[in-house]
């Protein structure tokens, strides 16, 4: 599972084993926003996001995402050398509280919401590569 999120991503090939995915073009950052996205790239991000697209959806999403990315090209013109990034509006970090035991969510109530449960655990289909 984990390896699917490495980059360049490793994908299971039809014959088993893994191969590097061809991303189409190098994503080198040269200070310019890239050209609009290709169908191959949309198919790639859909796989990463665990979404299955029909060919019609792939074409539609590609043109729509390209439009948004083209609009985003306006930030290209900005002088941002030396400007620090903001990840969060206020610099609150490492917010801690006293470690005092307290009631947690009711286990039966939580498990009652799960699609499939085995004893007190969430039950899932087999993990890739393991025997059923």
């Amino acid at each position: 599972m984990r390896v699917a999120y490495l980059d360049p991503p490793l994908e299971r090939s039809p014959g088993g084993g893994c191969r590097r995915v061809d991303r189409g073009r190098p994503g080198r950052y040269d200070g310019r926003v890239a050209q609009p996205i290709s169908e191959d790239e949309v198919a790639h991000v859909a796989r990463l996001a665990r979404l299955e697209l029909s060919q019609a959806e792939l074409e539609q999403y590609t043109s729509q995402l390209a439009q948004v990315l083209e609009h985003a090209a306006d930030i290209e013109a900005l002088e941002i050398e030396g400007v620090p990034p903001t990840a969060h509006p206020f610099p609150l970090v490492n917010v801690l509280r006293e470690d005092v035991p307290r009631p947690c969510l009711d286990r039966d109530e939580v498990l009652a919401q799960a699609p499939d449960v085995d004893q007190d655990r969430f039950r899932i289909p087999r993990i890739l590569g393991e025997a059923p």
């Binding site: 979404l51 299955e52 969060h88 609150l92 890739l128």
Partner: protein, 480 residues
């Protein structure tokens, strides 16, 4: 201006009217017009009935029923309510029943509010029209052929239609203020961290805030005061006590400095009637004694682009949790990857998929610096420009939305056109600042127009002070 929240709470507290009677009146309105408006995913008459009876019991026994005693409130359907389904208007959460209450829900309940229902929204709060709901669109009570705005369109419509005296929404890029403008009600996005987000289903965590809708500025401030305050269950909650949002109401605006944001009044696609109303609003504040001037906040024009990198990036991460394992929908698959893919492909609507893919792309190696990293730097520029402006002005003024309510279906085929609705509201989310939309007259089509008051972080008191002056000067009433 006394609104229904103040009026109902006072009457119920003084025993002039019973909470169950107030509730019956609102449920009656829901029964009559909700089939046309579709503001709710679920009307919670039973819950509301029990709450109203408890309020009446408290009054009868001489106990304090709370500041919002008997006030019917609607909750956006991404606020967790224990024992009551919470869908985010998504198939992926259909049937899910949260095992806990959001902190805002607990605070409203303790204040004596009565929950009439869970309101419709764009799926996972992604949209500006409430058309991206898995359960069908909400319609604008002022004109049923028009959208109510979004993503909190159901919450805005519920107040405009008189289904509730107030409601809660969430605002990531304008999702409270834009529907408030389109439905002719007051809608406020508080300072980031002022209101606990424990139990708010996350969209973009560095931007999301919960806030109130109401018919009047004073009502909105009153509801905000009930829901705000530190919560140790939200690590982004601001520590310490903050001044009441109502603390500067009734003071007028004489001597205040107001800047009208030139880049937003002149934004691409700004309708002339909307821009004209903002100028009228500025003139009204000036006539009331404020010093009003145009001001340039140059980087806000890049807000939209930065937002549509940052918000989808955070969403793509937040929505990874919908995997069919612990709650909600599961579609079968031979192995876990197939199960994930089948579940997410069936459970998410088109707009959510679009944003998840956009965000996944913006975060992927090779593009991270060009898109997400750059957008975060733009965010810094916007904060700096606001800081500069607030050295000279107490509040800033702008349109809330570029147009009045548009026709259903007018923008669904073209996502970018839909995104442009948020051009005036996004900068406040990127900065973490509060902003409120106040109804200010109507457009040439007779539909409501909202004017936005922006304030610096924790500037809610002065923001509502100015909003109240605009309300008093507004050419016509707001609600339907």
């Amino acid at each position: 201006m006394t609104g229904p929240v103040e009026a109902i709470a006072r009457a119920v507290r003084q025993g002039e009217v019973r909470a169950v009677e107030v509730l019956a009146e609102h449920l009656g309105r829901i029964a009559r017009t909700e089939p046309d408006v579709h503001a709710f995913n679920l009307v919670t008459s039973d819950v509301a009935g029990r709450q109203a009876e408890e309020v009446d019991r408290a009054v009868a026994e001489g106990r304090d029923p709370g500041p919002l005693a008997g006030v019917p409130v609607a909750l956006k359907d991404l606020l967790c309510t224990r024992g009551v389904p919470t869908t985010c208007s998504s198939r992926v959460l259909e049937g899910w029943v949260p095992p806990y209450d959001a902190t805002v829900v607990t605070r409203l309940a303790e204040a004596g509010a009565v929950f009439v229902g869970k309101t419709n929204m764009d799926e996972f709060a992604m949209g500006s029209s409430t058309e991206h709901s898995a359960f069908g669109p909400t319609r604008n009570p002022h004109d049923l052929s028009r959208v109510p705005g979004g993503s909190s369109g159901g919450s805005a419509a519920a107040v405009a239609a008189g289904f509730a005296a107030a409601s809660l929404g969430s605002d990531t890029g304008g999702s409270i203020r834009q529907p408030a403008a389109l439905c002719g009600v007051v809608g406020a996005k508080p300072t980031y961290g002022l209101v606990s987000r424990y139990g708010l289903v996350a969209f973009a965590s560095s931007l999301d805030q919960i806030g109130p809708f109401a018919l009047t500025v004073a009502d909105a401030a009153m509801v905000l005061d009930v829901i705000s305050g530190h919560d140790e269950r939200d690590s982004t909650s601001l520590p310490g006590a903050q001044p009441s949002a109502s603390s500067r109401l009734g003071r007028g605006v004489a001597g205040l400095r107001v800047g009208v944001i030139a880049e937003l009044v002149g934004a691409d696609g700004m309708a002339p009637d909307v821009a004209a109303r903002v100028e009228e609003a500025a003139a009204a504040l000036s006539a009331a004694g404020a010093r009003v001037e145009p001001v340039s906040v140059p980087s806000v024009r890049y807000g939209l682009s930065a937002y549509y990198m940052i918000a989808p990036a955070e969403a793509s991460s937040n929505l990874a949790r919908y995997d069919g394992v612990r709650y909600g929908l599961r579609k079968p698959g031979a192995d876990i990857t197939e199960m994930y893919t089948a579940t997410r492909s069936a459970g998410f609507g088109a707009e959510v998929k679009r944003r998840v893919m956009l965000g996944t792309y913006a975060l992927s190696a090779g593009y991270y610096d060009a898109y997400y990293g750059k957008a975060q730097r733009v965010r810094t520029l916007i904060i700096r420009d606001f800081e500069d402006a607030y050295r000279s002005y107490d509040v800033l003024l702008s349109p809330t939305a570029p147009t009045t309510a548009f026709e259903l279906g007018a923008k669904t085929a073209d996502p970018l056109t839909m995104y442009l609705n948020d051009v005036c509201t996004i900068p406040s989310n990127l900065a973490g600042h509060p902003a409120v939309s106040v109804p200010f007259g109507r457009g040439t089509d007779g539909l409501p127009i909202g004017v936005q008051v922006l304030a610096p972080a924790l500037g809610e008191p002065v923001m509502f002070q100015v909003a109240e002056a605009l309300e008093a000067a507004a050419p016509t009433g707001g609600a339907a």
